[in-house]
Symmetry: C3
Subunit: 316 residues, 3 copies
């Protein structure tokens, strides 16, 4: 297995089966620190640089919390508008990285352009973690999610994932690549405009990911072990605070998971959602035994502790 020390985490395309297991094991080792809200000095004296060109709460704060729990510090920006990098200069990634690399020991970058973290990694003397890049990938989210499946169900192997949401977006891309390393099936459900691009399906074919496409949640709910969700309907306007929620577009029934739908699900199945959600996952599911999205949120911190400590070489 390739060492994680000094390594960029840009994509799950090239992640190997034993690398997933290695990170899951490190996460298990660090989990008691997060659970008991203790702190450690594993990363004392280390600095995480956050470079967020797009808004984020969970991805940014989970990385920051992981760093703080392990004794490290955080520099950076949560909003490109407060940086010169985001203003009219449209500074090149190269120029920006030849600044950020002096501000810490590892960079986590979210960018509206696909490939921006890869470009950053080309120039950076410190590891770069992809915190979500445009239409590209979101590797740390999927590592979190597969770790959650492993903890909650024992293993990713043998599981059927019903993946509902935008299959042209980064999270679903990373999921498809990752599942190629497991004995798992991906059942794809999305509106036409969010269905996987042919090039992406060709990639999945080449990697050997097993998948099939369905059109209604009822076709797949009975077989699903993991119901993996993202928003299906996304308003493309900026709402005002006075706007009534009733004016929001609503998710068609065939993409929606409700308490009623979950009656037809396997009794052992779990529901994951990286959140925030619209109405595709109704709150009446929150009280069901299937709901695991809060655990997923918690594991977001644990997996980032594993990732940051690994790329910073704390285990070598």
């Amino acid at each position: 297995m390739r060492s994680f020390a000094g390594r960029d985490i840009l994509s799950l395309k090239d992640f190997e089966r034993n690398e997933f297991f290695h990170l899951f094991e490190i996460a298990d080792r660090l989990e008691p620190i997060a659970r008991s809200r203790r702190s450690s000095d594993l990363l004392a004296g280390k600095i995480l640089v956050t470079a967020f060109y797009q808004p984020s709460t969970r991805t940014r704060l989970a990385h920051e919390t992981a760093m703080h729990r392990l004794g490290g510090q955080v520099n950076g920006f949560a909003d490109a508008k407060v940086t010169r990098a985001g203003d009219f200069y449209q500074e090149s990634i190269k120029d920006t990285v030849h600044m950020l690399e002096f501000y810490g020991d590892v960079i986590v970058m979210r960018h509206f352009l696909q490939g921006a973290p890869h470009e950053a990694a080309k120039w950076s003397s410190i590891p770069v973690i992809n915190g979500g890049d445009g239409w590209g990938e979101h590797p740390t989210q999927i590592l979190t999610d597969l770790y959650t499946v492993t903890k909650e169900m024992g293993s990713v192997d043998g599981k059927t994932f019903l993946a509902i949401g935008d299959h042209r977006m980064r999270t679903m891309h990373s999921l498809g690549y990752a599942l190629s390393q497991f004995d798992a099936e991906m059942v794809i459900l999305s509106p036409e405009a969010m269905s996987p691009r042919p090039e992406h399906l060709a990639e999945l074919d080449a990697k050997g990911t097993r998948y099939r496409i369905v059109e209604h949640v009822d076709e797949a709910i009975a077989d699903a072990d993991v119901i993996y969700m993202e928003p299906v309907v996304q308003p493309d306007y900026t709402h005002s605070r006075d706007e009534k929620p009733s004016e929001y577009p609503t998710t068609p029934a065939n993409y929606k998971v409700t308490q009623e739908v979950m009656k037809r699900a396997k009794s052992t199945s779990i529901v994951l959602h990286s959140l925030p959600r619209m109405d595709e996952l109704t709150t009446d599911v929150d009280g069901l035994k299937h709901a695991r999205y809060w655990e997923e949120a918690y594991n977001g911190v644990v997996m980032r502790m594993a990732l940051l400590s690994s790329v910073l070489g704390a285990w070598e």
Copy 2:
């Protein structure tokens, strides 16, 4: 007395007399750390989560400074626009809290909606501090202010508070509730549109807060021990940087405190203002012996040290 460990600080409605004194005593014990700009490890390994959906300087930074002075760390957001929680998803408080609770050990939340921190506390496994909620309350500000009165004048008991400002807003609400636990009188002065709502006065009656309403600062200045101020005229537009201050609306004379007005005040009286100010408190008061608003700002850090260490159980 109820223990402060693990307790939410949402309102002063239910605060008891000895609970105020307990916090004042803890504040006295921690004050030398703030005064000498030393640091402590009382909260080493603890993390404060700041969740500010409305702008704030003093409330947010006083909490952050308190945490840093006591050896802790800070995560969070100062601006809802950089979070997904503040964007078009309008994520529910429940969903947001089931993320934030994993990012630290205590949450301080400011929200434009009254009751948002209470809703957060309902779901959170860690204590929630109300940093100001809509038209609701602002408990940590009033704790700071009554601590200031105690330090500067020996006691809150026996004092007459002339409260000038918006009595439909959160700070005045918390003041009214708090004074019910002391032998003190509240003299209310505000324009019609900022006068207390009948329901609020009914609450004060029920709690036993002594109050009377006046219409001109001259009616009350001679009897006041504490002149407690907030802006009276608030422009409801967003100004541009080029706008001349002379174009701002001005505060009518009957709500204004000036050097001239202070000539008619008790020689022992003090002036408090949580700041920022408009022209209701003129800068020619700054040099008078009565001015205590800078001390109030300083005590803002000290009281947050007391609050954070108490709810985090550092004294048990």
Copy 3:
């Protein structure tokens, strides 16, 4: 030499030769910490307050990194819009400082108004560092740059600086004042609208800075030891993300430094640019032996370590 402990860093107008050398020496002493990405406890328990009323990446983050590398903490704001200080109250600097001074041990302030940090220093009980004030000065940038020249070329003495950019702006002002303390010449190149104001030239005359004004890079490139650059053409609009770079205004050839122009430069000359850049410094210069702007960015952290530890009295 005046002690740096407790001192404000507002201007280079009054900086003396041996004070530059003193800071360069402290920087040399601290540089191994930055180079090896270690941390120190030199400033443990100290807090830096960042007060940025204008966007900044490099200045803000270099100060923050310096503080973290030396074991300190950081409070503050990166954007005036998230503070009450920046909203319609237009709080006075005096009022703001009588809050910020309680939040830490040293303040670094960037402000759109010239003189704002000087006004802050008048009221503050803790040192104030000017992080760039309107049309005023940018002392920490020029300290970084002259330290870079010293490290890369042995000395500032005997060097000719070709200064291309906006000579009505703060960075060029600080450069002109600083060079009066060295045996150096400043060759000024800028479009008419960016040429030095007569008052500024009078100041340079009074201080004894040697300068001359040229109109084309070719007049001066052969004699220059340090090519000191800033953007020459600055779009005065806020671009949208979809705008093509080709629509940006372009820098006229007589102010531009390219690989072709550098062929006529001294073989020992170096190019500095505080970045971000537009097209006045083309990327084909990046690979040349002359390019030292990445080293300059790195030294930005080192010099801020020297400054912060000095004003905080860590060396006394």
